[in-house]
């Protein structure tokens, strides 16, 4: 299901090259879009302070905190929208949060 069945669809396509009614084939294709560019504020992961409690992971609305072997990694900035929820829940000040440009 991770195949990008929509990769041939782009803004140069003629009407008959698009799917009927704009139907999206396949699943999980939001992964293929860099929606992180909408971000106006950015969280920063401070690994030294992190206790790997993983409270931040389930509250992220964009699944932008990757977890490998029960440990969180740095943010997936292609998909993080900068909502700041992870920063709010972190009990250990392991996430800072700033508006871009500040």
């Amino acid at each position: 299901m991770k195949d990008n069945l929509m990769k041939h669809i782009n803004e140069q396509n003629a009407w008959h090259e698009l799917t009927p009614g704009g139907m999206i084939y396949g699943s999980g294709n939001s992964e293929h879009f860099n929606t992180g560019e909408w971000r106006v504020a950015v969280p920063t992961f401070i690994e030294d302070k992190c206790k790997q409690c993983l409270l931040c992971v389930p509250v992220c609305p964009d699944s932008a905190i990757p977890v490998v072997d029960s440990k969180r990694l740095d943010f997936d900035f292609d998909h993080c929208k900068g909502c700041g929820i992870c920063y709010k829940v972190c009990p250990f000040d392991a996430i800072t949060f700033k508006k871009i440009g500040e």
Binding site: E11, W15, L18, P20, G21, M23, I24, G26, S27
Partner: protein, 392 residues
Amino acid sequence: MAIRERLSGNEAVSIAIRQVNPDVMAAFPITPSTEIPQFISTYVANGTIDTEFVAVESEHSAMSACMGSQAAGARTVTATSSCGLALMWEMLYVVASARLPLTLCCINRALTGPININNDHSDSMGARDAGWVQIYAENAQEAYDNYIQCVRIGEHKDVQLPVMACQDGFITSHAVENILLLEDAEVKAFVGEYEPEKYLLNEKEAVSMGPYDIANYYMEHKYQQKVALDNAKQVIYDVAAEFEKMSGRKYGMIEEYMMEDAEYAMVIIGSSAGTAKDAVDKMRAEGKKVGLVKVRVYRPFPEEEMVKALSGMKGVVVMDKAEGYSALGGPLGADVKAALFGRTDAVVLNIVYGLGGRDVRVESIEEAYGRLFAAVEAGSVPFGYDYLGLRK
């Protein structure tokens, strides 16, 4: 072997739905279409059909449920009238753009206000630009035959559009007429199984429907709908030809009556066409060269058929059972004039008639032809349009 019966239009369509045995019906009762969900829910309760009947809380929910159901991969039907159709408005467009070929039995009733339960075409005429195929019946037989064909037309791979099967409230929906029904097995074989290429409940192939469409895609998707509606015409003829083989009854985009040597033509939709045929017979007996064009399929509009049928006429009177409030005329009048523009020298009159159940008699139709004769005699086309059967 045809089954001879006497049925109302609502009964006839309900039997057609029973014979099609759709997967889902979601509907909310509204006069005069109420009997249809009533009969279907009775069939379901009695175990005659295995349709899932969804009793919803409004027509907004009915069309939403139908949309979800058809998207899931289920053959879906609903029925409504008047304000019920109006409450479906938002979803009518979404269903068409999502290319979901569900069927809607529209029992034409005046759109409030003032509140009125009787027949005219103001409900479905308002939905004429929603991207649905619209087919109108003159009588119960046509309502039955049209519904069975509508299922095939919408689901055809070249079309994939929702279809509205319209008949006149009370006049057709409640009056009992002689009718010929098809055998259950014949209808079942004719409509076959609904086999969508993509559907939401296909566990082997995930899809998402109805996504947000940015400016770079919207126009191409609207054009896809236009092409599908254009394609519907050939499919309507093909399905009608197949239906004729089975039933012996012939259908097309329009029906021409006494048009071979006619000089004056009337264009009309629905049950009034039956009254108008009687008027044509009477006037023909008096030596008047009158004919009739009945619009069966209104969307897609039968442009070529209309121009061909009306070419060479001295005068054409277009009858609208809906007030368009365009200050120019009714919807059918505007469409027929647009089709004829630059292609004929005929005097074209547009008359609004029969609003909110106002009686339409043979004499009413004669009066409309009379006004046409006068306009042709005067050799000029008056601005605007006029009412028939109005107290002045």
